[in-house]
């Protein structure tokens, strides 16, 4: 579901499996808990292991953007698989400048 590491001031959350409304709250809780304890300068959400995602994944990214901004950090979204690009484009998240 999510694999968390902290290194050089950055928390990396490697997400894997499917992201939907059932799974997203548990992912959110794990990521937020790690960030609240580490207070990282950067939160990196790595989507390379995500096989399916609906708009709950977009909500997860938007919520983490708010959370890490409140903690004074920056969000980066990396390794979006080809099959998820369509929903990211539709979401307008590219406008936040967080997608690498």
């Amino acid at each position: 579901m999510v694999n968390l590491t902290y290194e050089n001031g950055a928390v990396t959350a490697r997400l894997y499996g499917e992201i939907d409304h059932h799974i997203a709250p548990a992912m959110r809780a794990e990521i937020d808990s790690k960030c609240e304890s580490c207070r990282p300068a950067r939160l990196i959400l790595d989507f390379s292991g995500v096989g399916f995602m609906d708009s709950s994944g977009i909500g997860l990214v938007m919520g983490r953007y708010r959370m890490i901004s409140l903690l004074g950090g920056k969000l980066e979204v990396v390794n979006i698989p080809q099959n998820l690009k369509k929903i990211f484009v539709l979401s307008g998240l590219e406008g936040l400048g967080v997608i690498r």
């Binding site: 939907d20 409304h21 997203a24 959110r28 609906d54 709950s56 977009i58 099959n83 539709l90």
Partner: protein
Amino acid sequence: MNIVNSMKLSFLSKSVNESFARAAVAAFLLPLDPTVAEVADVKTAVSEAVTNAIVHGYPDRFGTVSIDMKLTDTGKAIIRISDKGVGIPDIEKAMEPLFTTSSDERAGLGFAVMQSFMDRVKVRSSPGRGTTVTLEKNIIRAHIKPVG
């Protein structure tokens, strides 16, 4: 246009059933020989509609979510997702991108995703009686042959 195959599915409005619902619909779609992208589009749209039924249709209790799916000899998949929940008072408002009545980090993109990923989306709702969302997708490569 003739119906060549159909199925019905009903399940309790528990969020754990969201993955079951989209997987079942995707499996039923396979005889139309869809591309990987078409399967992903249908799964995503179904996931949005089923989540809406679970979150918004039955905000305070569990109820039944039903899926009625048909495949036609022209390669069209027609998927009707319905609940007997609270209904939507203002469908136009509900379909606006970023509109959400939920506080639980919902992006408000459910209907925008359905409209963008499917060829046709129709919503019927009566407050207090429930909501039916009908999704249609033309599977481009579908072979016109009897299924099964």
